[in-house]
Symmetry: C3
């Protein structure tokens, strides 16, 4: 375990210590979770009261902080950044990965492996797949026929990359995620019986994308489902066939995006929201949590509700919704007064 005196940490940050600089710091933690020996930080003034109550031995605060607490203090311009620096010092040793191709992995014919590729235990790599330099498959990973993975990617355990899927460079995919399952497409007859429409397209994922665990990204019916550069996708997200996601978009946990919808650059879709099919979400739009998008959203708009409207409009109506019983009483009263007048 790493251990530093508070003076040593202050030196790294180029700040001075208020309190005892000789104390040993052995861990990092949030204010509420910290115990003696930990260093913590306050970035959001909303949590100021937690500084007073914390059991941390030291707290990183901003220069203008004036509260009182028993912990020693390090004052810096950006406490969150400073804490990030300090946290890195206490990071556990990087996980050792198997180098080369583990003897238990099953590698197909005509597979191309770049330099320094690591294929961990019990991975399957099917025929004609290509894996770029420096990429790591952790273990129990399935890589399908003719999949192309770029350089320096990190593919965690239990992931499935289906046939013809293409990944850019520095892509991270967390455990148990599936890229390239078939799109949900059927022809329906007059009796309501469905037959499968072959899903013959692929999935293309850009550079620097990170995808969480238990995510499903379907292959295109034809053409490609596309995820742009730098997109970040949280856990348990559903991306249907032929969806197009613009660069640097952010898709939070449990969101679902239906077939052929197009998500603009830098769009943020908050948790559990849903987007219906064949829609277009303009660049920079923000979709609130649990919202249901049923028509196009203009660039830069912040929408909410099911079906979505402007967030502020929804909230105004919702505030009145919560007072509907009062409003109904008033209405009944007016009616009575008017009826009395009429007598």
């Amino acid at each position: 375990m790493a251990s530093f005196t508070l003076n040593q940490l202050a030196e790294r940050l180029g700040c001075s210590v208020e309190g005892d600089g000789a104390i040993e710091i052995v861990g990092v933690a949030a204010l509420k979770e910290a115990v003696a020996g930990d260093i913590s930080f306050l970035a959001n003034p909303k949590y100021a009261s937690q500084v007073e109550a914390t059991h941390a031995s030291a707290v990183i605060v901003s220069g203008d902080w004036t509260g009182s607490c028993s912990a020693a203090l390090l004052k810096v311009p950006r406490p969150d950044q400073a804490f990030g620096q300090i946290a890195a010092l206490f990071a556990p040793a990087p996980v050792p990965r198997f180098k080369g191709v583990h003897p238990s992995a099953v590698i197909g014919k005509d597979v191309k492996l770049g330099e320094n590729v690591s294929i961990g235990p019990l991975c399957v790599v099917e025929d004609e797949a290509e894996i770029g330099e420096g990429t790591v498959l952790v273990g129990n990973v399935y890589v399908g026929y003719r999949v192309k993975i770029g350089r320096n990617c990190l593919i965690y355990a239990q992931v499935s990359l289906r046939e013809y899927v293409q990944l850019g460079d520095r892509v991270i995919i967390h455990d148990s995620t599936v890229i390239g399952s078939d799109g949900f497409g059927y022809a329906v007859d007059a009796q309501g019986v469905r037959t499968k429409i072959p899903q013959i397209g692929a999935v293309e994922i850009g550079d620097d994308v990170e995808i969480g665990s238990n995510v499903s990204v379907d292959r295109a019916r034809f053409g490609k489902t596309r995820i742009g550069k730098g997109v970040k996708i949280d856990n348990l997200v559903q991306i249907a066939h032929n969806v197009q996601i613009g660069d640097h978009a952010v898709i939070v946990a449990q969101v679902g995006i239906s077939g052929s919808s197009s998500i603009g650059e830098k769009v943020i879709i908050a948790g559990q929201a849903g987007v219906a099919g064949h829609l277009s979400i303009g660049a920079g739009a923000v979709i609130g949590g649990q919202s249901g998008v049923t028509k196009d959203v203009e660039p830069g708009k912040f929408v909410f509700g099911t079906p979505v409207v402007k967030h502020a409009d929804y909230m105004r109506s919702y505030a009145i919704f919560l007072r509907l019983p009062e409003m109904r009483r008033k209405l009944a009263e007016l009616e009575k007064r008017l009826s009395k007048q009429a007598e």
Copy 2:
């Protein structure tokens, strides 16, 4: 890569070409995604404007289409069907599958395998399982104790079929899906501490069912969780213990169905909707996206909202909800006028 002249494609469809039949077609794509060399199609008049703007070299349209565009045209009675036919010509080569039992697969005792079964690399098949003729386990698949799989099924990577699960014929299960995890059942004591109720039932899945990726289907507490013939289930769906799903029902992504509920034939449940426990959804009913079903739904009804009501009723109320600020202003005004009168 496949390549055809437009004349060759027209011949296959039995239609004539409007424009240059000699051009080479090398791919298929949706109107918005197409590039030169692609053929596309217009099925839904809603997207007619995309024909004018498309970069496709040719477009399949219906016989009565009269718009203008720079692409060559193929006119047919059913553009979507015709496009399906053409798309099949450009389909990538079918994925080669390992034939027979891969030497890295682990096969238990007293397992029965039909003819032409393919068990891919690193699959586990536990004791006394039975796998029917022509079925394929792609790779890294887990098949539990006494599981029975029918004929010509396709089980993708990372799937888990738990003990005693039964699949009909021609069932397709996508990657990382779990069939037969324990139902969520506990006895609660007076202190709120839960003890597990053994989940000793199974799951039975009918012929021609397709289940997407990352789906969870729980086994029954006792008896069976049942999924009828021809049912199509999208990704990330939750089917709880003892649920019964009628033939040809459609369950869209991220839907959750709670314990012991019964879903009628040909019911459609749209994305992210939830159904509470012990309910009955009548045949042919449609549950709107993100809806919450808390009581039985009559056959053929289209419901929406949380808790659900008739879709049209919800939408009527929602339209007024969005105008509640205006309504409240009016009410306040009336009150004022009435008070003035009273003075």
Copy 3:
């Protein structure tokens, strides 16, 4: 298959038979699903009409039951408990598990295994992991670097336990669940481009926790994501980084809990609900299905809606919401009457 006479079953329960005690019982089932030869039970008076209609050969009812039916009856004080006892008699044989370490499993360096540990086929156990006495890894399980698993745990197929994750004793984790994927944390620059914040914390799971299939539990940014003793988590649930879940809480399917939120002891969160980040849900609170929690919830409160309010308040407003068209008509009428007066 097990088989008992009804008299034999009555003897086990210490009750008498109303009807023919000589009949053979060969299975257990819910009232609606039962066929001849089955025994069923009525616990909830709501389903009393199902007793009359059941095809079960025998039904367990409470002592004061007075309805009529063709099935034989066993009258007991607690029909659900009695049925649980009987169902256990008909339980399928327990699934035989591989004893010891399967030769196809890949075990890293310096792994510590307790007595009677079972590591099934094609599992990976990375370096320095510790697995306690009596724990079972079923098959195709991935156990990461320095993971610690307690005693008598049951880890199903396709599960991934990432580096540094710690499990208590008697923990059950269902198939394809991921514990310890990276939290969703990024630093954003002025152009909206995100860079990853290292997620260097871990996950700690208490004794007697059960976690369903396809669940994602993220590791902490630093410190630990903590799941208390006896917590029960259903399928497809998202637990973000640094979430703290109190003992004996219940998290139903498809719930999402955002980063750093704290869930009190014995809280119940119903299906598909979402909790935003940095919130505190007081002990014993109940969050209704599909609700969206955007501020702290007091202990013991029952809340509902998005954003949540008291359940009763929401329902009162919702009832009026459904009658908004009527309310608007009334308002228009009043306006007209008042205008007429004014003429």
